[in-house]
């Protein structure tokens, strides 16, 4: 796994709710929030 595990735990928690989102626009916003969260922990490069 890439990144610091302590930094990404909150982001992983966020991802649990992805499946309850249905519209494309909401999914897009949600994914951007998760991406921003991971960016803080420098997980996805």
């Amino acid at each position: 796994m890439l990144g610091n595990i302590d930094m990404i735990k909150p982001c992983q928690y966020l991802t649990r709710f992805y499946h309850v989102i249905f519209t494309v626009e909401e999914k897009c916003v949600y994914l951007l929030m998760i991406n921003l969260c991971y960016s803080v922990g420098s997980v996805i490069n």
Binding site: L2, Y18, C28, L32, I44
Partner: protein, 262 residues
């Protein structure tokens, strides 16, 4: 109240990122088209090989600085780069577009881009997956030479060169620079690029179906000694349906298919 206002502002920023009109992309694309790739095909200073050496290996020569082979067909769908073979200096595909698929990044960023043919194939793959209840999300596509250089140097600084070389490509040798590779993930692994992706429904689906859309899992399990990279179940490489299906059916990597490592 402050929290509400802040949350609303952040949401608006995100919405803007999601709904941004593609004019930025059009301008970027026009920019790329204007940079004629022919000028980078023949690099100054590369050592040309004899006809016997480069015959059928699509090699233009050797970069004396890095001692890597420089490929002569960067625009080919079947372009073959690895730890020994790199793209010509300054190479940028001239037909990069944004596939219309779920992506972790906002519109307008390079990592959403793929070459036209690969982008169309990825859209079909995502569409078919969605119809079968498989929810994929794209994470990282095209990377420029400069971007890969930053990533590689960061990995070397953090983990040391030997460890970094096991999962990170030196600039010029990354498949992401070809515009033919896309990393994908799913909510089931928190959208991370994690080997656990292989154990998910999404990962299993890709193993079985990616070739039908022209993609292969480029760095499969158990072939690290051949590819030079650890297992990456998230790394899709577009090769066209015919070659991808051949590799899938024969259980081959590109290294095994071409029969040489450079």
């Amino acid at each position: 109240m402050k929290l509400l206002i802040t949350t609303t502002l952040i949401t608006l920023v995100f919405l803007n990122g999601c709904q941004q009109i593609q004019q930025d992309d059009t301008a970027k694309h026009a920019d790329m088209v204007s940079q004629k790739r022919g000028s980078v095909l023949i690099e100054k200073g590369i050592v040309e090989l004899s006809d016997e050496q480069d015959h059928d290996k699509n090699v233009a020569g050797i970069d004396p600085e890095t001692e890597l082979y420089v490929v002569d067909n960067p625009d080919s769908i079947e372009v073959y780069v690895n730890k020994q073979r790199r793209l010509p200096e300054g190479y940028e595909p001239d037909d990069l577009v944004e596939p219309d698929v779920e992506h972790l990044s906002q519109q307008g960023v390079n990592r959403r881009l793929l070459r036209q043919e690969a982008a169309e194939a990825l859209e079909l793959l995502f569409e078919q997956a969605d119809e079968q209840g498989i929810d994929l999300v794209a994470v990282s596509g095209y990377r420029s030479y400069e971007r890969q250089k930053t990533i590689y140097q960061s990995n070397v600084a953090n983990k040391g060169q030997e460890e970094a070389d096991r999962f990170s490509a030196q600039p010029g040798t990354s498949e992401h620079q070809t515009g033919l590779a896309m990393d994908v993930s799913a909510a089931s692994v928190s959208f991370l690029l994690d080997q656990a992706f292989d154990q998910t429904d999404e990962g299993s689906w890709l193993v079985e179906h990616a070739h039908q859309f022209g993609f292969v899992i480029r760095y499969p399990e158990g072939k690290t000694d051949i590819t030079g990279y650890e297992f990456e179940p998230w790394h899709l490489r577009y090769l066209g349906e015919e070659l991808a299906t051949h590799l899938y059916e024969e259980d081959l990597t590109l290294e095994e298919y071409f029969g040489y490592h450079y």
